[in-house]
Every structure is written in C-alpha cells, then in structure tokens.
C-alpha cells in the first residue's frame, strides 16, 4: 500500500476549555474523498485548519505524505495541499481571473516567465470553466454573489494544482444545480484527494468515499462512507431521528423531527 497522504495519530484539538476531538487516528490514502460531518461547532473547520498546518493541535501528530507537518516549509506545503475556506476577504477591486492566477504564487516562484505565464492563463481559465464561472473572468470579485464567489475560490484552489484539497463547506452557497455540478467536477479529478467539511449529509453520501463523524465532545467515527453513514450513526451524531430512503442509486437521509 502506498504512503497515506494524511496520517493522524492521537490528535487532540481543543477550543478553550472544550475538547473537540480526542485521540483521533485516521489515514487518508491518495484518491480518497473524505467527508467530515458533525453538528455546528463540532470542530470540523478546526480539524481542517490543523490538517492545513494553519493551527496547532493540542496533542498528537499529523504526517503529510509521510513527513511530519512541522518539517514542511510553507511553500512546499502549498505545493501539496490547497484549501477552500468558507469566507473570503476582498478589500479592494480585483478581477476574478487575477484572484485565480494569484493562487499559483508558489508555481510562479522562479518559473521561466513567458511559458509559465501562458500556462497559468490556460490553467486558470480551465479551472474557472470547470467551476462554471468562466463568464465571470473579468468581473470584480466584490460584485459576485456568494455562490459565485465560492465557485471562484474553488477554481483558485484547483489552479494551485495540488494533490490534496481541503474544503470547508464547499457547496454551502450553491443552488441545487451547482451543488451537483461542483461536487461532480471535484470528483472528476481522479488524481485529487479531498477532505471536506459538509453539512449536507446527502451530498456527502454521494460525494465521499469515506466519512469522519465528529461529535464535538472528543468522540469520533471514521471509515468507509457506506459503513459510517447510516441511519443509526447519523441519528446518534445529530441527536435527532434521521431516516434513510433509497432513491435510484442514491441513499437519501431525512430528518424526522
């Protein structure tokens, strides 16, 4: 078996006094798509930040591609993983295409000028196209709707050309058509590995190969999506009664209360 892309051992994440995640062990192999699921404030975003190297864990180790997180330099890390946050800061007028091009910062360091620039342009436009926002390329990011802005952020993360993409609520602002389209576009990149916090259980069930359930009090469940995402585990996780239906090839979960 190949080296896991992410390997966590004994991970503990605290927020103030609260322990969100305790003694978390899980491995993400290349090509897997992990959905992180849990109630509000359960530590999904915190976990993503720890995996991204942007927040220290209180205990335990994280290895990326077999190397401890602390041994990665910031630029090297940017070559391995991208992250799509769930909020964007746009203080000044900027063209959509320029925000996507800027994400290739690491790739442009020391690159031969004209060839790199041409390639950057074509990759950036491809990624915008994949996220159905090529028509927005010349718009000002500050004038986009939240859904459009989110897809631009996704395009920027893809343009970074990394093996691992961390997603924080990647479809929270998308309409039903774009929810499907975005997840399918991500799925279509077979070489990419994803770890994404998702609130929509049904989207998670379709998208993910694996799931990590966070209870928010330290407890967690990790495993294959088909085994972990069940009526019982989800009802227990969200402390509400959830039923499961079969619709064609998909499983559909509904909250009953």
């Amino acid at each position: 078996m190949s080296t896991p892309l992410i390997s966590c051992r004994g991970l503990e994440i605290r927020a103030g006094e609260r322990c969100l995640v305790r003694a978390l062990d899980f491995d993400v192999a290349p090509g897997e798509r992990w959905a992180v699921i849990g109630p509000n404030g359960a530590g999904k975003t915190s976990l993503l930040l720890v995996l991204a190297g942007a927040r220290p864990a209180q205990d335990g180790t994280v290895q990326l591609s077999g190397r401890p997180l602390a041994q990665w330099s910031v630029p090297d890390l940017a070559g391995l993983r991208a992250m799509v946050a769930d909020r964007w800061i746009d203080p000044f007028a900027t063209r959509v295409l320029d925000t996507v091009l800027a994400a290739r910062y690491r790739l442009n360091l020391g690159a031969a000028r004209p060839a790199a620039a041409d390639r950057a342009q074509s990759v950036a436009r491809d990624c915008l196209g994949v996220m159905d926002c090529l028509h927005l390329a010349d718009r000002d990011v500050r004038h986009l709707s939240r859904g459009e802005r989110q897809r631009v952020a996704l395009a920027a993360a893809l343009a970074q050309e990394t093996a691992l993409v961390l997603l924080d609520e990647p479809i929270s602002h998308q309409d039903p058509r774009h929810q499907t389209q975005v997840l399918q576009a991500l799925q279509a990149r077979a070489a990419c590995t994803y770890v994404g916090a998702l609130h929509d259980i049904n989207a998670a069930a379709r998208f993910a190969t694996h799931a990590l359930l966070l209870h928010g009090d330290g407890r967690w469940v990790a495993g294959r999506a088909g085994e972990v995402l069940t009526r019982e585990t989800l009802s227990h996780l969200f402390e509400t009664s959830i039923s499961e239906f079969i619709s064609g090839p998909h499983r559909v979960f509904l909250s009953q209360d």
């Binding site: 930040l49 991204a52 190297g53 942007a54 927040r55 220290p56 910031v74 630029p75 890390l77 940017a78 070559g79 993983r81 991208a82 992250m83 946050a85 964007w88 800061i89 746009d90 203080p91 000044f92 007028a93 900027t94 063209r95 320029d98 925000t99 800027a102 994400a103 910062y105 690491r106 442009n108 360091l109 010349d138 718009r139 000002d140 004038h143 970074q160 961390l166």
Partner: protein
C-alpha cells in the same frame, strides 16, 4: 444583467492604463522636477538652467545666479520627491497589510510620535539636526509602543484565523496617535512664544530646511532601497490581501512577510518625518489614486503610488514656493489643498 457592464467601467482596465501608468508617472516626475528647478521667488530660464546644470555636472563653479539657485533648489526637490515617495510607499504598504483603505502612516501614530519628539526638541531650542534626529527617535518610539501593544495581533499564529485582528492593530495605532496629539497640544501650549511659529510650520510639514545635498541623496537612496525591498514581497502581499489563511495555504510565510514590511514602513515614515515634518495626506491619497489605474495588486500599485507621491509632494512644494513668493507656504497644507479636491473628484467619477 448590467453587472458585467458596471464592472467593466469600474474595474481597472487590464491592458493599456496598467502598462502606461509607470511611464506616464516617470514623465510627470521629470516635468515636476524641471518646474521645481525653474520656478520660485526668482525664475530661471530654461537656457540658464541647462548651462548651470552642465556646470554642476562637470564640477565647475559657474558662480551665476542660476547656479546658486540650482544648488539650493536641487537638494530641496530631491528631498521633496523622497519624502513623497517614502510616505506613499508606507501608505500603500499599510493599506495592503491592514486590508484597510483608511490606513496611512499617520493613522498608526508613527508621525504623532515623531512630531512629539521634534516639538520637544524645538521647544528646547535645538538645532535642525537635533530636531531631525529626535523626530526619527520619536517615530521609532511610537512604533515600538505599537509593536508592544499590538504584538499579539501582529505576530500571533492565530492571526491566521481571525481577520478581526486587523482592526485591533488599527485601533491601537489610532490610540497612539490620539495620545501623541494630546502631548503635542500640551507642548504647544507650554512652549515659549518665540518658537511657536517654527513649531507650527513643522507640524504642517515644511521643506524649508531641506538644503543639504547629502541628506537629499541619502533620502533618495533610502527610498530606492526600501522600494526594492517592498517589491520583493509584493507578490506575497498581493495574496495576503485575501486574508492570512488564504495566503498561507497558497505558500506565503505570512508572519515573516508582515514583519519585514512593517520594518520597511517604519523606516520610510521615520525618514520622511525627520526630513520634512508632518506632511499628511500623501500616504493616504497616492495609493488610492493609482489603484484606479493599475489595480490593487501591490506589484504594480506600490511603485506607481511611490512615484505619484513623489510628484505630488514636489508639485505642492513648488506651488508653495511660488504662489506667495517670497513667502513660502508649508508643503503639508498645500498638499491637502491640492489633493483633497482631486481625491473627491476621483471618488465622484462613475
């Protein structure tokens, strides 16, 4: 959908004005320099100016009136350009670092600290060199205070997680500026009457004392070096506009870049205030004006703002020397008198 049309009008154009901005500003700087050398309480004709310049370059002492005036006006023009360039560079860096279009070297209270120290020196009857030195010391002191108070917000690792920390830095700066203003009014109210005029001129920003060619050359060299240092980090700073978390995940060591650029800002502001007193406004307005033409990307915005700042201060100083000659009006006041209408006109444009 009129969104696309509206953006096309509001967005900095992608091609022409981006490329043309720097050459246009360079030509403007040259013209402003020529005007600054020619005009004043006595005007020099273009021919005399050329002859005097050739004498100066070849090291001969022409002894003409033009040569004497050139010897006085050239250091002053050089200092004016360096002061404008340094302040605009600081303003552009601070606005980008704090992601806030209201930031400016003066907002952080750095000039306030410099002014306090300079006022105390003037009140004590110190000479020009001592005043400049204490201004630089005051800038450094104010900045150290800001570092100490906003240390968590500036360098803590969790800056990554909380964009609200940016306003903590700004607020701390505003508080330091208010404190300096209070100390200033105390010094002014207690100062001996005979020194009040010098002090007020200094507070308004004044290039009357900029006669030393060595200091002018030093200022220009500082401007160039700091500009190049900032340019090295400009691409990283561009990513940091989108938040530290995003920049960090895209490969920018945000803490180091921020630290370097804050030091650049401190030196630039300290130098400018030490040379010309409290010339306000240029650090705030120059980045705003160029952003309309070249966009917010610091790689293009910083050099353009820097050049524009140099032109603005040089023009304001030249006008200040000419309009009421032989009286000299303080450059800081002129700066705002010219700049505010231009800025408001820019804001009103569709």
């Amino acid at each position: 959908m009129d969104g696309a049309a509206k953006d096309a009008a509001a967005m900095p154009s992608a091609g022409l004005s981006r490329r043309a901005a720097l050459p246009i500003l360079a030509v403007a700087a040259l013209l402003a320099l020529l005007a600054a050398l020619r005009f004043g309480s006595v005007n020099i004709s273009a021919g005399d100016l050329l002859a005097a310049s050739l004498d100066m370059v070849s090291g001969r002492d022409g002894g003409s009136l033009a040569a004497t005036l050139l010897g006085l006006r050239l250091p002053r023009a050089g200092t004016a350009m360096a002061v404008g360039g340094l302040l605009a560079l600081s303003g552009g860096l601070l606005q980008s670092l704090l992601r806030n279009p209201l930031a400016d070297p003066y907002v952080l209270g750095v000039s306030g600290g410099a002014s306090c120290a300079a006022m105390l020196a003037i009140a004590a009857g110190a000479g020009a060199a001592a005043i400049a030195l204490s201004a630089a010391g005051g800038a450094l002191l104010a900045l150290s205070l800001l570092f100490a108070l906003a240390h968590r917000a500036l360098f803590a690792r969790d800056v990554l997680l909380d964009p609200g920390k940016d306003s903590a830095i700004l607020l701390t700066g505003v508080m330091i500026a208010s404190l300096s203003a209070a100390v200033l009014s105390l010094v002014l109210s207690l100062a001996p009457d005979g020194r009040l005029r010098t002090m007020v001129f200094w507070l308004l920003g004044d290039l009357g004392g900029a006669t030393s060619p060595v200091l002018a050359a030093l200022a220009l060299a500082t401007w160039l070096v700091l500009g190049l240092v900032a340019q090295r980090d400009a691409a990283a700073l561009n990513l940091m506009l989108g938040g530290d978390l995003q920049a960090y995940t895209q490969g920018v060591p945000t803490t180091q870049v921020r630290r370097r650029l804050i030091i650049v800002t401190a030196i630039a502001t300290g130098m400018a205030v030490a040379l010309a007193g409290a010339v306000g406004f240029v650090g705030f307005v120059a980045p705003h004006l160029v952003r309309r033409a070249v966009g917010a990307d610091p790689r293009r915005m910083l050099p353009a703002a820097s050049l524009l700042g140099a032109v603005l201060v040089l023009v304001a100083d030249t006008v200040g020397r000419c309009v009421a000659a032989p009286l000299q009006l303080p450059v800081g006041a002129l700066m705002a008198l010219i700049g505010v209408p231009v800025f408001i006109w820019q804001l009103q444009r569709p």
